[in-house]
Symmetry: C2
Subunit: 210 residues, 2 copies
DNA sequence: GTCTATACTACGATAGAC
DNA sequence: GTCTATCGTAGTATAGAC
């Protein structure tokens, strides 16, 4: 499939060089076709860029969706909600450490710091739903109704995971290694899980002001 | 100063579009000069890129260096080390939220996920020293000698701060606002400070295995 | 659907005027 | 130091052959 190959290459190119920096000729050549097929399939460079955004949103959701922990229909107990959060973050950490994620992480960060229409597509897909679900689970797990503090707590949880990608080189420097090793990953997961529990415990203990 | 104007523009352009995507003509024009002055002052596009890396390293260090908390000569008490960590992170959060940081955050993330020679320059500057100091302070604050767990803890602390930049749009979506507001910032700082304390407490309590 | 051919614009580097 | 002029290359878009 030409379109699939084009997308795979385009993800890497747009991620690394941005919309303006990437070359449609290079992308087409690397995909084994010619530039004009981009015009045909996507209407041009910008169309391909948006298609990449959708593609990334789908890729990101693929391993997250279908997870019962993310099923918004269920209303779990506080203990179940806590367990679901741990489950989500465990998957999330694996995702951040996977090599494929390296291809599109910069794409997302670019859209995070300088959003275009592509960010809305990504957020509207899996990302927004996943994050709102996280907030809901924090609320349930802590027995709090005020979502504001839950949202802030979710942000700090999120950061502990995304840093593994967004600050990958610094993390590796700190761990004095060239690639994340199994024992490092296990220690990181344990540390993050502990931090999540500590945050949930504190939010549960502090009585919600009325 | 032409060089200073060139650097200011180049930071934004290289950050957004990367080395290959940015246009020297555009940078020069925005700085009110012509492309050949980049050749004259920096030897070419690549020279300007590296100069930008140095410039960013300096900018990042400017508000961090000179901080007594970062003075590596001193050997503080555990309580002082904890206090110093809080001080560093408070400054760091302010930095991540400042508008100027938006100009070069993508530059750093790009180098984090796809390091070039520019990353070494940035790490060799303030960044590496700051992070190693953080690890040292965590060790002192927790009374632990094994730096590995301290390094992993430092990574999770770091993530809670950098997420405000690297996932800015998502954070704002979660907080349901268009820009970080004073009360959100206060709540974020409190949450992060609490998380840091909880991590330090846990590492202090768990006896170091011999 | 895929490719060739073509038109036009913009790129970085460099040489040389002032 | 700063600029103009120019070179060779590479960019996107489009029309049309097959």
């Amino acid at each position: 499939m030409v379109q699939h190959r084009l997308l795979d290459i385009a993800v890497r190119e747009f991620s690394l060089k941005g919309l303006e920096g990437a070359s449609t000729r290079d992308i087409a050549a690397a995909a084994g076709t010619v530039m004009s097929s981009i015009t045909y399939h996507y209407g041009g460079k910008e169309g391909l860029y948006l298609a990449v955004a959708d593609y990334i949103a789908e890729q990101m959701g693929r391993d997250m969706i279908g997870d019962p922990a993310l099923d918004e229909a269920t209303e779990p107990s506080p203990a179940d909600a806590r367990h679901a959060l741990h489950h989500i973050f465990d998957r999330f950490i694996n995702k951040m450490l996977s090599v494929q994620t390296g291809d599109w992480s910069l794409f997302i960060v670019r859209e995070q710091t300088n959003p275009t229409a592509a960010f809305e597509r990504i957020w509207s897909g899996m990302m927004g739903r996943m994050m709102e679900r996280m907030v809901a689970l924090v609320c349930i797990a802590t027995g709090r109704r005020d979502a504001k503090i839950a949202r802030i707590a979710a942000i700090t949880m999120l950061g502990q995971v995304t840093v593994l990608r967004a600050s990958r080189a610094s993390c590796l420097k700190l761990l004095q290694t060239d690639d994340f090793e199994a024992e490092d990953i296990a220690a990181l997961k344990a540390q993050i899980a502990n931090n999540i529990d500590a945050t949930l415990d504190r939010l549960s203990a502090e009585q919600e002001p009325q």
